[in-house]
């Protein structure tokens, strides 16, 4: 079971407030989508429809923009987000092996969420901490100088 998007009145009014501000500026779509992504954790179709009505932009265009950029997602992410840096500095120091190890240990494909909605595994491009390569993050916590052994430890801790 994937976790469902939680659209509450409170969150909707937060989005509406953000749109009120951005509507007055030129090029309001991107800032609005950023706000939506932040508020809901993803931008599913119902939200896109609301934005479409409010900003008077066709939903086709909005959907096109949402799916174009890696930062926006249509589906909700898992409870724990594991991101492995695949920037060059990390890659040449073996981050692909770390990504494979996570994929194997969490039993999830890169870019996907586990069926129980517990884990999302992502490959990111450079978070800019190349001095500590290879690195990965779990819910904002940064793990430096990663290794397959460290992955095993982290997964064990996350699952318990």
């Amino acid at each position: 079971m994937r976790s469902k998007v939680n659209i509450t009145e409170e969150k909707l009014s937060e989005l509406k407030a953000a749109m009120e501000i951005h509507k007055k500026e030129p090029g309001p779509l991107m800032p609005t989508l950023h706000a939506a992504q932040k508020i809901f954790g993803c931008i599913p179709l119902p939200i896109q429809k609301i934005i479409s009505n409010e900003l008077d932009v066709s939903i086709a265009r909005i959907n096109g923009v949402v799916t174009f950029y890696g930062h926006f997602s249509v589906e909700p992410k898992g409870k724990n987000i594991v991101s492995v840096c695949l920037g060059t500095a990390c890659y040449v120091k073996g981050s692909q092996g770390i990504l494979d190890a996570f994929s194997h240990d969490l039993n999830v494909k890169v870019g996907d969420t586990t069926d129980d909605g517990m884990f999302t595994l992502e490959a990111t491009r450079c978070i800019g901490a190349c001095g500590l390569a290879p690195i990965f993050t779990v819910n904002e916590e940064v793990f430096a100088n990663g290794s397959v052994q460290l992955v095993k430890k982290v997964v064990q801790k996350l699952k318990s």
Partner: protein, 122 residues
């Protein structure tokens, strides 16, 4: 800000504050606080400095965040500037080392050689 003179006056004032001109026994603790530094654990280090210096009532010591110095592999990096003009760079600092630096270096004035960037680097 209407004139260059105003700006220059502010510059002079800020410069004197930043470089502790005319202050005796002044210390400026610079904690590298870029993304690398934060990822390597600069926050607990910064907090340790702030808390300990506050606890010890060291009025002449200022703790400040700075950007990346470029030595990412040795973060967190802390640079100690003193009003006598000396500069010391410590690297791979932890909150424990930070307390040690406050006690030994800032309070007693003894540099701790084993944590120096110049000693750690090959």
């Amino acid at each position: 800000m209407k004139t260059l003179e105003e700006l220059k006056a502010l510059r002079k004032k800020s410069y004197e504050k930043m470089y502790m001109i005319g202050v005796t026994g002044g210390v400026r603790v610079q904690v590298g606080y870029g993304t690398c530094g934060i990822a390597a654990g600069a926050k607990p280090v910064y907090d340790t400095f702030v808390n300990e210096i506050k606890a010890l009532n060291l009025d002449n010591v200022e703790v400040t965040q700075v950007g990346c110095m470029g030595e990412c592999a040795f973060e967190p990096i802390v640079e100690i500037l003193e009003s006598n003009g000396s500069k010391t760079i410590y690297c791979l600092v932890t909150d424990r080392i930070a307390s040690e630096i406050v006690e030994e270096h800032i309070v007693k004035g003894n540099r701790i050689d084993k944590y120096l960037l110049s000693k750690t680097k090959r």
